[in-house]
Symmetry: C2
Subunit: 402 residues, 2 copies
């Protein structure tokens, strides 16, 4: 399955015009995303000290770039997300993961903006990652792939934008790991980001979040089918380990009240326990389904790499221990958003970002949305979030003369 | 290893006098606990509809039973606890798990009370459980062992008390799964419990808690060494799966502030990431240690059974959906205790118990202890808990004329 995922997006330079704009936007059911390929002369300078080359970045777009090239929006996806933000997913057949927020007439209005979302470096939906072929060996990288950081992801995105002929972004937006990238964009390329909207995120990963990620990684590595990361060559798949990792992580994306509301202690097809280890409770059945469906679309090693990237993220540590230093003299306008029931990136994490931005004299709005849906609220139907996002983006558009 | 654990406490009737009092209290380093054995004529009537026989219960005691037999305290242990509450643990060599609270001059004063703690049915420290030999086959029960409920545990404890010649308890006390047993004791045998102290517990397991347990079970069952539960015969041990289960569960026993205080984002032996999947962060190293040390002392199938028992616990459902009905006309005096940072059994769970007890006209004190130590606070040095427990127990002793 991972092989077939990997084959979905081969280097495909024929799709890219000299100015970088894809000539043939794929129909929404086409599994092949446009891919920007970077050769040996254009390496990605990674924090691990490695110059990665060649490499490729798969992406999707919606809307039209205006003549000024001033209406570009970069959407940064979360840990297990991908570039299919507004298109039917080629593997799952599900709708784009952010069609709630992005589309014609939506807060991120594809009638007005040119929206780009690229699969991050290290992932498995067409961009180069541990499942890709290592040119030095002709075999999949596996754990020989260099560790990836959030900054590496952002550097790769910047190279993609260069390729697409887009100097700067009207808006950079994303939730969770996507929000980390937004913060990193604003810190690394302050002149290239007009407005930034980090949602349900933090400027560093907490000890508890590292702990949950480590459990997931150990679950994958405990699976003999993982084969020390060489499962593609071994012809195996660590589906059980990856499924367990996903089940555990999925709990952290929800909230106790949401789980109580959705599932409570309701039994599957009955009102009494079966006195067995079957999925007696609806919540058990739901979680097992989450695990099973995830392994159909995600590569286990990519999961290791991307969780690690989140764990390593600590924007203050990169700036002398003072988060405000990451944003000194920024002219980017920020809207920071959190959700009351998010315990993975609680409001306190957003508040720390806001404090730092204020200390850096930045323009910043702070929206804490009342919701019982937990961390995943940023992906769901949250009218308060939509309204706040629309207000912020519309005002930014006016300020930019769009 | 499981076999050796199992061999620690063989049926050992020779240790029990006719009145059930052990004749030779084992020295604290003796791995062999006294065991009460019940024959074919004394089955345990289990909620699964099975009469379990023969079966045995391993236990430990401290202090002396008075002439009136009125000073007995039953301590109920938590999920992965055991009877070694005040004695050095025969496997780990660690001090008794509740020596903070129990001992000479402590709130549960072994100079005044006769304290009993038995290994619950379904566990693996000498009481009958899935690692025990199934008399029908001569092989370990494995998953042929009937599912266990909290009520089954309590019924077994009542049979042990009968054997020991103790009609009623001065105090029944326990935390977490132990607290569930305390509530079940008060509901099932109201005339046998003078005072009850359920700590850091709930009258039912929440959907989120069921979810975390299910992830742990799936981690165990995903381990090929689990061998469909027949690992003892296969000569394997699902150590990796059980370790992952423990790592995940352990996070839920702590709290985000405690993890931040203890570990933060500190690196192991350095100030920078190694760009690898080694245990870079101290929290990772700590968690891995928790997983490794747990598998040395616990049986994987027992973990499946006991987590399931907690999931099934719903005292209101057993009483027509009204929790207060579980305590109608009770004369037991209660002290319910919770910890502010406990997110596994948050204060709201304790408050629901208190509401029900008030509705049932019971005598109830409610103590919410300010602590950042999370669920495990009940096992730790918490002076406010000790003071409250001492006050409640001393008053109960006066009321009972002790």
């Amino acid at each position: 399955m991972t092989m077939s995922l990997d084959s979905l997006a081969r280097p495909d330079e024929g799709n890219i015009r000299q100015d970088g704009i894809p000539t043939d936007a794929p129909p929404s059911l086409d599994p092949r995303s446009p891919v920007a390929s970077f050769g040996l002369d254009e390496p990605l300078a990674m924090d691990a000290g490695v110059d990665l080359a060649p490499f490729r970045i798969a992406y999707q777009t919606a809307g039209t770039l205006n003549a000024d090239r001033s209406n570009a929006v970069l959407i940064c996806h979360a840990l297990t997300g991908d570039q299919h933000f507004a298109h039917t997913h080629p593997v799952t057949g599900k709708r784009g993961w952010w069609e709630t927020l992005v589309g014609p007439g939506k807060p991120i209005d594809t009638d007005r903006y040119f929206v780009i979302c690229s699969n991050v470096i290290g992932s498995c939906m067409g961009s180069t990652g541990p499942a890709s072929t290592d040119p030095a060996t002709g075999k999949p990288y596996g754990l020989d792939f260099p560790l990836v950081t959030i900054r590496d992801m952002v550097r790769g995105q910047a190279m993609l934008l260069d390729r697409l002929g887009i100097r700067d972004l009207f808006l950079c937006v994303g939730g969770s790991m996507g929000g980390m990238q937004v913060l990193q964009w604003a810190a690394l390329y302050p002149d290239r980001v007009f407005a930034a909207m980090p949602i349900a995120t933090g400027a560093r990963h907490s000890a508890q979040n590292i702990a949950f990620h480590e459990v997931g990684r150990q679950a994958i590595m405990a699976d003999p089918a993982w084969a020390e990361g060489r499962y593609l060559e071994a012809g195996t798949r660590p589906a059980k380990g990856l499924g367990v990792a996903r089940m555990g992580a999925h709990i952290t994306y929800l909230s106790e009240p949401a789980l109580h509301r959705k599932f409570g202690r309701r039994f599957q097809g009955g009102s009494a326990p079966t006195f067995s280890f079957n999925a007696d409770f609806q919540i058990e059945s739901y979680l097992r389904h989450q695990g099973l469906s995830f392994v159909e679309r995600f590569d286990a090693n990519a999961y290791l790499y991307l969780t690690r990237a989140m764990d390593y993220f600590d924007l203050a540590a990169d700036h002398g221990g003072v988060l405000a230093n990451a944003f000194r003299n920024t002219r980017t306008r920020f809207c920071v958003m959190s959700f009351t029931s998010d315990w993975l990136f609680p409001t306190a994490d957003s508040r720390a970002i806001v404090h730092a931005l204020n200390a850096a004299s930045a323009s910043v709005a702070f929206v804490e949305v009342e919701s019982d849906k937990g961390h995943d609220a940023f992906l769901l139907d949250e009218p308060v979030m939509f309204n706040a996002a629309k207000g912020f983006i519309d005002a930014a558009a006016r300020a930019r003369g769009l």
